[in-house]
Amino acid sequence: MRSFSLIDFVSLFAALRWTIALVVLALAFGAPLALGLALGRISRFAGLRWAMAACIQVIQSVPLLGLLFFFYFGMPVFLGIQVPALVAVTVAYTLYTAAFLGEIWRGGLEAVKQAQWEAGACLGLSAWQQFRHIIAPQALRLSLPPTVGFLVQLIKGTSLASILGFVELARAGQVVSAATFQPLLTYALVAAIYFALCLPLTLWSRSLEARLDGSR
């Protein structure tokens, strides 16, 4: 047993980079997939709409912890080869992000009135141009507040990677707590770091929402 020292403080902040790395990975792979899901959900083809809705429904009805374990143990079974834990974890967070962002963005796209698409068509724009220049900018504005809100969920969600042994913030907290026998100080500090990370995003999301409300 040793007392809580500067080293422990530093190791918590050093572990923060993995928390951020997981968020960045989840967004980098999850956001394009989410856009695909959202577009699929508003497609003209009923089969595609239905399939996308089913994917989203399944992922949203399983615990994130379950997704993580499923892919952690499942990737070798699916692929027949061992993959690094980071790959499995990234796949799980990517699907989680895609399902939630996809649903948020679909809401944004559907909130833009159908007549706007038709107006674009009347101007002779192609389907892609209608989406790119008319629908997307409006939908983006509408879905930005919940998107930032989801970012907070994602940051908090990365704490679950600790359970698979990833030394991110939550795991570093467990390690330091066990080494120093100072659970109060350690977990208070860990919570404070998460809080400092998430609160600005929450406040930003709320101010974006308020601004949206006033302009309509």
Binding site: S61, P63, P76, S162, A191, F195
Partner: protein
Amino acid sequence: MNFLPLWRYQNQLIDGAIVTLELTVISALAGLLIGIAGAVVLKGRIVPLRFLVRFYIELFRNTPSLIQIFIVFFVLPSFGLKLPAFEAAAVALSLYFGAYSVEIIRAGLDSIPRSQVEAGQCLGLSGWQVFRHIILPPALRNAYPAVTSQFVLLLLGTSLASQVAADELFHVAGFIESRTYRSFEVYAVICAVYFAMAMSFKALFAVVGLAAFRWPRRR
């Protein structure tokens, strides 16, 4: 892939699922009570209390549920409050759910235009009657979708209680895994059970919502 070795553990799975349901329902009820109390405070005039509730909401919404469970389980004992795993998880999850409920219930109450309350008062209704007949029904209807989807998230979130060894479904998964070494199969089954529970609740809430909130009510 071989699911057969899991077959003999079905009783453990059912027991785990029941504990998960208990944890979910207890935390949801306690959380809703917190939510109602918090919303009343936010609508009230006592500024320090309002500030306290705001602080509580932000604190619990901006930190991970897992850390909250750890704090209740590992930190409270140093203040002389030693809770068993299930109780500790229930306390932490109630507080987490409560922080979201306050906002949902407050938004539900705020969705009633002031003029409707005034109309009620003009008709000579008492304060309680205004609340009971004018504010409550539409507020419940507006808050219902958010509360139910938060409930399903809570159901899925109870899996975190496994990390302090509360014997709910996810903890049972670890137990079966240690007996059978069928890691992937175990977690595939566990995910399926959570999926079935979540979908059942969603269906139930949809049916109850349709039955309870037919609107406008005709006589």
